[in-house]
């Protein structure tokens, strides 16, 4: 399925500055695999060594935090927006 992925500022070095990129996949896992293939290295900033979403990064499919739905198995229907929101502490 064709989806859009919102990239936070701190990860835009991987996407050539793009704030939003096109993604592909039926589940979040597939979308991230394709994302890392398109933008090598970005996957490791979102997922840890065991392949889980890092604890200081939140991923939303639409408005829902996937930590409270099916995690990386969350379905990503066509046209949905996926947001990657890392913790920042500046103030």
């Amino acid at each position: 399925m064709s989806v859009s992925v919102r990239i936070p500022t701190i990860l835009r070095t991987y996407t050539g500055g793009a704030a939003e990129v096109a993604g592909e996949g039926a589940t979040l896992r597939e979308v991230f695999a394709k994302l890392d293939a398109d933008y090598p290295g970005i996957g490791a900033r979102i997922l840890d060594e065991s392949g889980k979403v890092r604890r200081f990064v939140n991923v939303y499919v639409g408005e829902e935090d996937v930590r409270f739905s099916e995690g990386l198995d969350t379905p990503t229907p066509a046209g949905v927006q996926i947001s990657v929101i890392p913790a920042v502490a500046g103030g």
């Binding site: 500022t9 701190i10 704030a19 290295g41 604890r55 200081f56 939140n58 935090d65 502490a89 103030g91």
Partner: protein, 393 residues
């Protein structure tokens, strides 16, 4: 979701107060009762920096009766690009004192309480207990987790905001009515993974964008109007000029506010919890840290060294140490920089303040460059001790 007002109304407003707050009083939702609630409110702002500046100024103007300001830092010239509560003549002055002076100038009716101390596990509960609501304007993860934990343990609402470059986030954490900060971010990032504003920069006016959301939410909570930002995260992108909000759920497994909490008191050490410098970096820097003066001497003596600046290109443009080659930290983390390292020279690393160079030092040591060293205090220390004619940032 609407919530009851946090504060009972003060008995009355004086004639002066009615004149001053008339534009609030004629809003039906606020009115006399709402303004009396603000008058009776006690709000603490943690940090008088980027977010704290607009937050304190608008809270003061709005007529919050008691405003606490906690900050241990002094005003630096590099603060003035965004910390609008301070001015040029305040450079070198304690931030809490400088901020209090501005608050008094905006609204002499406000009772200002100055906490000219660093917030620690020893004083946070005592200080917070005197306030109805906490506004967070701090700049690091360790303090944010400590503020959250104290707010949850004391049952206080915690109006949170965070900024980086062009991105802002804001929410209201209040365990009695919704999630806490740990529900949103259960763990802090490992050191070096997320740059601070001092490393990555921040657009000055972004502070106002997020700080004003925080004040807006504080006023709503105090007076009990509108839909508070409880259980929602507001995300702002200044470049695209977009606000979006996403749901934040209360995590039933939250170690602090979940069903079976395992954190029932403050942690002993939030710095350690957040690992300001990673264990690896600390170990690598042990016995392999030189001063800027030592570096200068090595250069003057013609020692066979290869000096590497691991900061970003725009930082290098601001100020750099003569003879340094720029190779940003990221190139060491992904391994591509290692092949550029000479085998026949002693490698000397530096960054802005010594944290990033320590992380890179750990990478180099594990790659076999056992005699590599880094400069403690980085280029800031170089400017201070070797070449004060250069700028700092």
């Amino acid at each position: 979701m609407s919530l009851p007002p946090l504060v009972e109304p003060a008995p009355e407003l004086t004639v002066d107060e009615v004149r001053r707050y008339s534009r609030h009083l004629i809003i039906p939702d606020v009115g006399m009762t709402g303004q009396k609630r603000l008058k009776n409110a006690k709000v603490l702002c943690v940090g008088a920096g980027g977010l704290g500046s607009p937050a304190l100024m608008y809270l003061a103007a709005a007529g919050v009766g008691t405003l606490g300001i906690i900050d241990f830092d002094v005003v630096d010239e590099s603060n003035l690009q965004r910390q609008i509560i301070h001015g040029q003549s305040d450079v070198g002055r304690l931030k809490a004192e400088s901020a209090a002076a501005t608050v008094r100038e905006i609204n002499p009716l406000v009772n200002v309480v100055i906490h000219n101390v660093a917030l620690t596990t020893d004083n946070v509960m005592d200080i917070f207990s005197g306030y109805d609501l906490i506004v967070d304007g701090t700049d690091n993860f360790a303090t944010r987790y400590m503020v959250n934990d104290a707010a949850v343990l004391l049952g206080k609402p915690y109006v949170w905001g965070s900024i980086y470059r062009f991105d802002g986030q804001a929410s209201v954490f209040w365990a009695e009515h919704g999630p806490c900060y740990r529900c949103l971010y259960p763990e802090p990032p490992p050191p070096g993974m997320v740059p601070s504003c001092a490393e990555g920069g921040v657009l000055g006016v972004l502070c106002a964008s997020i700080g004003s959301i925080q004040v807006n939410e504080a006023i709503k909570l105090l007076t009990g109007i509108g839909d508070p930002l409880v259980g929602r995260l507001m995300i702002y992108d200044a470049l695209e000029m977009k606000y979006r909000d996403v749901k934040v759920r209360k995590d039933p497994e939250c170690v602090l506010c979940g069903k079976n909490p395992t954190v029932t008191a403050l942690l002993d050490d939030y710095e350690a919890f957040c690992g300001v410098v990673s264990d690896e970096a600390q170990a690598a820097a042990q016995g392999s840290t030189i001063t800027a003066l030592e570096l200068k001497k090595w250069q003057d003596d013609g020692e066979n060294i290869y000096l590497v600046d691991v900061r970003e290109p725009n930082e290098y443009d601001i100020v750099s140490i003569p003879g340094a080659t720029l190779i940003p930290k990221g190139e060491f983390l992904n391994g591509s920089a290692l092949e550029k390292m000479p085998q026949d020279k002693k490698i000397v690393l530096h960054c802005k303040s010594g944290a990033r160079s320590a992380e890179v030092l750990a990478v180099l040591k594990s790659a076999g460059f056992s005699d590599a060293v880094h400069v403690g205090g980085g280029v800031l220390s170089w400017v201070k001790t070797v070449d004060p004619s250069q700028p700092t940032y």
